[in-house]
Symmetry: C2
Subunit: 156 residues, 2 copies
Amino acid sequence: MLEEHRTSAGLLLALLGQAAMRRLRDAHTAHHLSPRQFQLLGLLHDQGTTGQQELGQVMGVDPSVLVTLLNPLEADGYVSRQRDPADRRRHVVALSPAGATHLAAAAHAQRAAEDELFSGLDQAQREQLRQLLLVLQASVQPGQASPCSPPAADQC
Amino acid sequence: MLEEHRTSAGLLLALLGQAAMRRLRDAHTAHHLSPRQFQLLGLLHDQGTTGQQELGQVMGVDPSVLVTLLNPLEADGYVSRQRDPADRRRHVVALSPAGATHLAAAAHAQRAAEDELFSGLDQAQREQLRQLLLVLQASVQPGQASPCSPPAADQC
DNA sequence: TATTGTTATACTCTATAACTATA
DNA sequence: TATAGTTATAGAGTATAACAATA
């Protein structure tokens, strides 16, 4: 039971996650985005116009955090917020054409950062890791169902 | 190239790493430890008395961070700091018997937290994930060689 | 001068609580 | 009253820069 303290999966995941967050931030900072803002633009791109409450649930983020993410995005014109006529309390968020363009550029930078982050893994290991993380995400995220139904997780 | 924004391995690793860090912190807080302090005690346990500079390098942490980790540990008597007679600038850190006892209790709590964190993975998947993270750690950590030589990584 | 450890300060990401406006 | 969004504040984890003591 000795010698295992430094190789527990939980601590490894926590610390390597920090390293990953740092690299993604460095990559996105050049595009004036944070990793969470990139994720947000990606979500809007993938699933279209969405209410803020639903966005927060899917991202697993507090509504107050969402506001701090959205404000600069709206100021830069990457995102628009409109009141829902049916329920004027709701704000409906949409990705603008400029936002889509910006997302594409940032996605390129993120891919480069990930290629460097995972340079120690071959392509098969990297895909294996991604699949394991997807399974883990489905059980860890308290809020939302995974985007892929388990039997068809290959085509994610 | 659509629909992949939310499932990139890098972002998954970053976000799940945050979740892991939260769970470990919750587990260790009951023992008045942080995840990093647990890692520090584990390192001292595994490799014995060590200088602060080397500790910081192995953990991939700034020396100033190490100070804030060590101060409470020393105040609680889990760790001792002594000047190196050969080079009086160096502080040599050792795990105390009380620290070893405390580490064992905290390790139990961490194991429970990890079992719950990885409850969505079976034992084979969890070990697979741990091996992938070990490989990744070796290439990501700029500072130190991995504790296991690659050909014999099974017995970690 | 260079190095070890320390202190002070600031930054990133996130959460909690109180507030506004709509329902 | 209850809900959607906002604001203000606080917390954890980390890094940078300036400093003291020692080499």
